[in-house]
């Protein structure tokens, strides 16, 4: 796998599908019109809301699980080889199936007897006379049927794979399959084509109940065709998707359309099957076919939407999601007796379902997560189910550590913000072309450059407003996209209009609330000399006053790191003094500052280090003196009778200009030129040698880069 992040998202999807199963069974006793005896208990407060939700969840939860199972199966197969694959599957699927059944089947039987006794007022009803004969191979697989089907499908897929590998030595068949599959996914037609096998399988079968969709094959060890086709398509598809994981990103982009399709298909299904289940098997015909089509499309749309959402939003490693993902397998295996017990306990209480259902869910999850945490996570059971055993630690500890921004995560603790090899383009315009720039602890870094040099883009990358096309941006040792890092950052941007109706005091209070330990509003006002304007609405202030308020917002959080994008544009001398004074105080207090500016004297007055950016690259960086010496030019001015052209003909002269009779000569080696000047013109007066300012250095550097 080129990008291990994607697996976090799919782990989360698998956990979601399994936990959805828990919720599905928890709501089962609330389905209206439930025939007594079909489930362990019929609740006294039925709800169509619940039945609609259950119906929706049931459309896709198992198929989604099988897609993910197929994906991870191929991953495992290619990591461990055939032998390793089967050993792993034996341990993590076959053993739980056998041991789980031996433990769960009797407890389910006990719970069912208890529930049915309660339902029928103390006595178990006699079996109905017209009970259908048991199917061939009858065996109560219980909800563990999915483990059995996983094993059957693994055998089928691995054999199929061996067959394809033997016949298709050139790989052309596999490439064609990849192309077709990729095409289906890219065009969005996958959700319309993938249901076809299932629709076909359901069309020839007459004993399925529309409301429950793909028949649950929990009654017989002989695989049921419709179930095998439905879940087999899902597993094979997942397996094939692992051949081209880029497809995941397509769903990440297209989740809204898939979600819309899923909702539409679900509504269509409900319109046909009704919001309340009818338990009569379908009759073959147009209605059943239409339902099967809507159901199949809904199933795939839901699956793509959920996977897309997960890839989009849960791709980062997250300790809590990881914990839930690890727990979900155990929870699903164990949930049924726990959930049904609670259903029986509350079933006859005169309470509304909105009270009972959440109580059942909360109670079951407490029991299930509790048992996972104390009996599974750090024991051999966890080793068997999840392939690893975690050391015994409080679950909060790893997540807290993961969430906290800490300098220790970066190699160099002195670096507060870093851009490394960053490329960024807007369409065809290249804004940054491999920029490397570090902000060190406690320094003021002035970023200089002509318009369009990439200064603002660099700041936006540091602030997480943009993401680099290539290279990395780091802020306080973490990703700039994480808010925890940004909580130590103050920012003043160009061209921002704050809410005009709010008063200065209110704007500061609002912004200070974003920070963990901000300055008080009064201190901020005092610091930025805004006391007299505190109760004026922002919209009534002058341009310079508005900039000063924006500066106040940047510092009110007492930031460790401050980004100032051309802070003193359009300010009068007094306001600029206020800002400069505050910046010096912040630096003295240990704050690190990035300042972009066009005012070179501002950089000369404040900066510890200057970075000159041009054409999206760093062309020079160093102290003000270093930058100046880098282009070690000096200006010699004098009043002389020598002609411009004569001086220009001397070696090493960079430029000669004359202004009101005074000659200005730009050189690197001033001493030699002065000697020659004095020798050539005895009447030379007013000689003066000046080090070039930062302005000159800057102009030359950026000219060279261009």
């Amino acid at each position: 796998m080129s990008n291990p992040d994607r697996l976090h998202a799919l782990d989360a999807v698998r956990a979601f599908a399994l936990l959805l199963g828990v919720a599905f069974h928890a709501g089962f006793s609330f389905i209206p019109g439930m025939i007594p005896g079909l489930w362990a208990i019929v609740d006294t407060s039925p709800s169509t809301t619940v039945s609609v939700l259950l119906f929706t969840a049931h459309i896709f939860r198992m198929s989604l699980f099988f897609v993910i199972a197929g994906f991870f199966a191929r991953l495992l197969f290619h990591r461990r080889g055939a032998r390793g694959f089967w050993l792993d599957r034996a341990k993590r699927i076959l053993v739980p199936l056998i041991v789980g059944w031996l433990v769960l089947a009797p407890s389910l039987l006990a719970v069912w007897v208890w529930g049915l006794t309660k339902t029928f007022g103390g006595t178990l009803p006699a079996a109905p006379a017209n009970m259908p004969p048991p199917p061939p191979g009858a065996f109560p697989l219980t909800h563990l049927w999915f483990l059995y089907y996983l094993l059957v499908l693994y055998v089928a897929v691995v054999s199929g794979r061996a067959l394809v590998a033997a016949l298709d030595r050139s790989g052309s068949v596999r490439r064609t399959i990849d192309r077709v599959l990729g095409g289906l996914v890219r065009t969005g037609t996958a959700a319309l084509v993938l249901p076809l096998p299932l629709i076909g399988a359901l069309a020839v079968r007459t004993d399925w109940v529309m409301w429950f969709g793909i028949p649950t094959p929990d009654q017989s060890v002989i695989p049921q065709v419709a179930s095998l086709v439905g879940y087999g398509t899902a597993l094979v598809f997942g397996w094939l998707v692992h051949r081209q994981t880029a497809l995941l990103q397509i769903w990440a982009r297209h989740w809204p359309i898939h979600l819309a399709g899923a909702i539409a298909a679900t509504v269509a299904c409900l319109a046909i099957a009704g919001v309340v289940p009818t338990f009569a098997p379908v009759t073959r015909g147009g209605t059943a076919l239409a339902f099967a089509a809507a159901y199949g499309i809904g199933l795939w749309c839901w699956s793509f939407a959920v996977i897309g959402l997960a890839v989009r939003f849960l791709s980062q490693e997250n300790a809590r999601v990881r914990y839930v993902a690890d727990a979900s397998y155990w929870i699903y295996l164990l949930h049924l007796p726990v959930v049904v017990c609670l259903q029986i306990l509350v079933g006859h209480l005169p309470l509304h379902w909105t009270v009972k259902l959440p109580a059942i869910l909360t109670g079951s999850l407490l029991v299930l997560f509790g048992s996972y945490h104390y009996l599974v996570r750090a024991t051999f059971i966890g080793q068997v189910l999840n392939g690893r055993r975690y050391p015994r630690v409080a679950p909060a500890a790893p997540s807290a550590a993961a969430a906290a921004p800490s300098l220790s995560r970066d190699d160099d603790p002195g670096v507060m913000a870093r851009l490394a090899g960053v490329h960024k383009r807007y369409g065809k315009t290249v804004a940054l072309a491999g920029l490397d720039l570090d902000l060190r602890r406690g320094e003021l870094l002035a970023v200089l450059g002509p318009n369009g040099a990439g200064k603002s883009t660099a700041v936006a990358l540091w602030l997480g407003l943009l993401e680099p096309d290539q290279g990395t941006a780091r802020l306080l040792g973490g990703s700039p996209l994480e808010i925890d890092g940004r909580r130590h950052v103050g920012v003043m941007m160009q061209d921002v209009a704050l809410t005009p109706e709010l008063r200065v005091r209110e704007l500061i209070a609002q912004t200070a609330n974003y920070y963990a330990a901000p300055l008080s509003v009064a201190d901020t006002l005092a610091l930025t000399r805004l006391e007299t304007l505190a109760d004026r609405p922002y919209g009534k202030l002058s341009g310079g006053q508005k900039r000063l308020v924006q500066f106040a917002l940047a510092v009110c959080g007492a930031p460790r790191l401050l980004f100032l994008d051309e802070p003193t544009v359009g300010l009068d001398v007094e306001a600029r003094e206020t800002i400069w004074r505050t910046i010096r105080a912040l630096i003295a207090g240990g704050c690190s500052i990035v300042l972009t500016t066009h005012y070179l004297e501002e950089a000369e007055a404040l900066a510890d280090r200057v970075a000159v950016v041009a054409g999206g690259r760093l062309v020079a960086s160093g102290t003000v003196a270093e930058i100046r010496s880098l282009v070690a030019r000096k200006h010699i001015t004098c009043t002389s009778t020598l002609s411009d052209d004569e001086v220009r003909s001397w070696p090493d002269i960079m430029a000669v200009t004359r202004d009101a009779g005074r000659l200005t000569i730009t050189v690197v080696d001033a001493e030699n030129v002065v000697r020659r000047l004095l020798a050539a013109d005895a009447g030379l007066r007013d000689l003066e040698i000046r080090q070039a300012g930062l302005a000159d250095a800057f102009t030359q550097l950026t000219k060279e880069a261009a």
Binding site: T48, T49, V52, P256, L259, I263, V267, L270, V275, R312, A400, A403, A404, P405, S406, L407, L463, G464, L465, L476, I483, D484, R486, R487, V489, G490, V491, M493, D495, V496, A497, L498, T499, E501, L502, E506, A509, Q510, T511, N513, Y514, A516, A517, L519, S520, D523, A526, L527, P537, L553, G557, A558, R560, F563, A585, L586, A588, G589, G590, C591
Partner: protein, 268 residues
Amino acid sequence: MTALSTALTTDRMLTASMPLGRVLGAYASEMTFELKRVLRTPGFAIPFLLLPLPIYLFFGVAMAGPAVAKQPSLANYLASSWMVYAVMGPALFGVGCTLAQERDAGLLKLKRAMPAPAGAYIAAKMAMAMILGAISVMSLMVAGLLVGNVTLSVPQLALMGAIMTVGTLPFSAIGLFIGAHVSASAAPAIVNLIFLPMLWLSGLFFPLPKIIEPFVVVWPAFHLNQVALGAAGVTEFRFIAPAISAAILAGVTFLFGGLAIRRLARKG
């Protein structure tokens, strides 16, 4: 100066996360200031807070008088319909137009760069629409009871009002979606393009021509009305199961809200 130096020189550990209390505080302050902002803009607040009442009195009570006399239960339906109107305005215009405006002003980008908690801005906008909607719904409830011949009990009416208040959410989500995509100058036009057809084609105020009737289901306004009537236990004028309507509204909220949030997170 001293405050600054203490705040800065104490070597505050970077490992400390923001306490949950302060995060919630940031949400609350964002909402408070959003509400303040709106109430200080009378040109915005008055049409949405005060206008629905006279409009209801004129159209829903005075003009509908003869029809209600013939069919008394119509009064309940009309009250519910006008409540839907009352919540649509602040949600669509209040959220949509101000979002577009503040996005153009670069404010959203600044808030995103500053550590404003993700979602605080959006939650504040939605809460603002909810509060404005609730205030004008309440004025309609009182008017309906006093002069509107509404036959519902006070608890029924209160439940209806509560549904309406929560019912601002799908419209706020549509507002967010529009505001996240169009410029400040285009936003009012686009919102009107949604608002007006929805108002008239969702069958809230008068019977629709038979040919348009089946298409009421495309408008969230129709569904909100159905949910509110269902919750209040009104059995007439029910065309669709309230649970399905509620699910559709939830879907609309989720879809448009999700698309808007995605867009805002990427482009600001």
